[in-house]
């Protein structure tokens, strides 16, 4: 069977499974559409939330980022997992007790204000739309690489599949397809990693292999990797960073942002009880950790594999002859994600750090510049080929990458469509709408959101690449503080909450636009985006944590000089703090 046929079989079988689940899990009421009926087992929900959370970026790009940045990029690992600690203790159980359908629902009720609800809806839509574009393009890339169709065709196919289960099944259909998608993606991620770990360290568990002895050289794997990268002018893989303030703030922004993402929060509305919401957060992190503990191992091992392929006799000896390059380099050259230019005309591939500090050594070795560029995103996708694994593993990776993109896209689309049909239509425009009418509105909003996401995936705007800045920055600076204050303070009132969210949003966007350009239009940035120009060395991507602090300060200051919330609202705060009497998500 050809590789194409195998890939088609794996992707086709996974799609058949998702559509089968969609037919089985049709939503019959708004409660089923928004919160899957509220009866999802906490472990099942943990698995679905893990798939909801782990996007094309986690699956495809994260190992590449870690491989390129080494220790400095550990922020992604800690930031994207530490947020669940905040979610488990500061938000999920209380919002579950509150027992309604959306995140703006809580903000609108707790701050007794349409203005607060609309602000929350606007923030939710900006971050979720930015986020969903990356999922559509990610699915397109996976299709074009593995199924030999254009990436636009891939995006249309992905949109069609999501349409089937999200429009008919709502949260119920999404939940059970996400469980299936989790299983597909975790198997696809782990199998190549296990084989690579065995090949390099004889240890079948990648997370242990990373800290074991490199079989071939007899020294620890990370020591070997450090030796090689040092010889090529790169900084040590495990080297410490000098700007610790920025690393702390970046990690904190990712953590707070993760806890404030609406598509993750609403997953905790689907479990039966408050106690289940707490357990479910723990299970979610267990399922996420299976991938996140493997990713750093994949990163270090793939980087070592790449460098030992290019320098088979060590970095000081002759590099690989281009004519003898392995097949996987040839495959990826065709996609343009690996490129080679023979700068010193010796027919060999030199890969090193082209920095002034290393120039003398490079000249001594007869090198005239770095000749190979490798896109970070191919590490995971090329892993099975690098490790010489059989064709079915490649097919599995294709299905896994697409599963990661689809599961996150569906969760985001539900967050967007429920904010429109429930918060805007049901709660603001037409409160008299019937259950049946709201259900129809929910399905139409979902279909509209899918079309919008497809359009933006086909024509990605400039801001599409700014998921970290826009989605996590805004979630950290607006929704997380508002939700937390709504639960932990009885004194913060509507004026404070709205002023806090708007100030957090505006200040964060201004800081981002200053360095990345107004609305990300190239050339319109007021200051160059380099560490020397950042205030106190804080990168625009790390600013969400500062935005969150500003939000807290403004909200408390404004609330303290205005009237406290009405008694009924203080009682609402009191009631979300105690689990008793939650029952299922209320119909309303």
């Amino acid at each position: 069977m050809s590789q194409f046929a195998i890939n088609l079989l794996f992707v086709g079988a996974s799609f058949a499974l998702y559509i089968g689940i969609a037919i089985w899990a049709r939503a019959g009421s708004t409660k089923e559409f928004y919160v899957a009926g509220g009866g999802v087992n906490p472990i099942t929900n943990g698995m679905a939330t893990a798939a909801d959370w782990m996007s094309a970026a986690s699956f495809i790009s994260m190992a590449g980022l870690l491989a390129a940045g080494g220790y400095a990029n550990s922020s992604f690992l800690m930031g994207w997992t530490g947020g669940y600690v905040l979610l488990a203790m500061l938000l999920a159980p209380y919002l579950r007790k509150f027992g309604k359908f959306t995140v703006p629902d809580f903000i609108g009720d707790r701050f007794y204000s349409k203005g607060a609800r609309i602000t929350a809806v606007a923030c939710l839509i900006i971050m979720s739309v930015t986020y969903v574009i990356g999922q559509m393009t990610g699915a397109g890339v996976a299709f074009s690489r593995f199924l030999e169709v254009s990436s636009s065709t891939g995006i249309w196919i992905a949109a069609g599949v999501v349409f089937v289960y999200a429009v008919f099944g709502g949260m119920k259909g999404i939940t059970y397809t996400q469980v299936a998608q989790y299983v597909v993606l975790i198997i696809a991620y782990t199998i190549p990693a296990v084989f690579i770990s065995l090949q390099l360290t004889n240890n079948p568990i990648p997370m242990f292999g990373m800290f074991s002895t490199h079989t071939e050289s007899g020294v620890p794997l990370l020591v070997k990797l450090n030796e090689i990268v040092r010889e090529l002018g790169f900084q040590d893989y495990t080297a410490d960073v000098s700007n610790k303030l920025n690393m702390v703030l970046f990690t904190l922004s990712l953590m707070i942002g993760t806890a404030g993402l609406p598509h993750v929060i609403i997953r905790f509305f689907t479990v039966p009880k408050v106690a289940d919401a707490r357990w479910s957060a723990g299970w979610t992190l267990v399922f996420i950790a299976l991938l996140y503990l493997t990713a750093p191992a994949v990163a270090s091992m793939a980087r070592l594999n790449l460098l030992t392929t290019i320098y088979p006799d060590g970095p000081t000896a002759a590099a690989l002859d281009y004519a003898e390059r392995p097949d996987w380099i040839k495959t990826w050259e065709q996609t343009g994600l690996i490129t080679w230019t023979d700068k010193n005309n010796d027919g060999r591939i030199q890969l090193y750090n082209d920095s002034p500090a290393f120039a003398a050594t490079a000249e001594e070795r007869g090198w005239a510049g770095n000749e190979l560029t490798v896109n970070n995103d191919i590490l995971v996708l090329a892993n099975p080929e690098i490790a010489n694994l059989p064709g079915w593993v490649v097919g599995l990776i294709a299905a896994g990458g697409i599963a990661a993109a689809l599961s996150t896209a569906a969760g985001l689309l539900l967050a967007i469509s429920s904010a429109i049909s429930h918060d805007l239509i049901k709660n603001i425009i037409n409160p008299q709408i019937s259950e049946k009418g709201e259900m129809l509105a929910a399905r139409i909003s979902m279909a509209g959101a899918i079309l919008l996401a497809t359009y933006l995936g086909l024509n990605p705007p400039g801001f599409a690449a700014q998921v970290v800045a826009l989605a996590f920055g805004i979630a950290a600076a607006t929704l997380f503080p508002a939700l937390m204050m709504g639960i932990f303070s009885k004194r913060v009132n509507s004026y404070g909450a709205i002023a806090g969210m708007l100030t957090g949003l505006v200040v964060t966007l201004l800081y981002i636009f200053t360095y990345l350009g107004w609305f990300f239009i190239p050339g319109t940035n007021m200051l160059p985006n380099t560490a020397d120009n950042w205030i106190l060395g804080i990168s625009p991507l790390s600013f969400g944590a500062v935005g969150a602090m500003i939000n807290f300060i403004v909200a408390f200051a404004v609330s303290s000089v205005t009237a406290p919330p009405p008694k009924a609202i203080q009682e609402l705060v009191e009631s979300v703090r105690y689990p008793k009497g939650a029952g299922a998500a209320v119909d309303h």
Binding site: L77, F211, L222, V223, T238, V248, A275, R278, P579, G583
Partner: protein
């Protein structure tokens, strides 16, 4: 009613105490061991590198899981003690 309110206040302050302790551990392993205190832990070797690197790439994640499960277990027990469970 007064008794009920006192109970409620005690339940909430116990919850806040658990949260505070958990957040101290959460910050210690990530911002502490993995970032700010890493140079101080440089002497402790783990698999060819230092303890801070291990915390940054694996240790903090494992600790986060432990924090959530311990918190969930303690809180679910607290719910029953105060009779506020569902």
């Amino acid at each position: 009613m007064a008794d009920h309110n006192m109970n409620a206040a005690a339940y909430w302050s116990a919850n806040l105490r658990y949260i505070t302790i958990s957040l101290i551990v959460w910050a210690l392993v990530s911002y502490g061991f993995a970032i700010l205190l890493r140079p101080m832990l440089a002497g402790i070797e783990v698999g060819g590198t230092d303890l801070g690197f291990w915390f940054a790439q694996q240790g903090s994640i494992i600790t986060f899981i432990a924090i959530i499960f311990i918190y969930a277990w303690k809180m679910n027990k607290l719910d029953k003690e105060f009779g506020v469970e569902e």
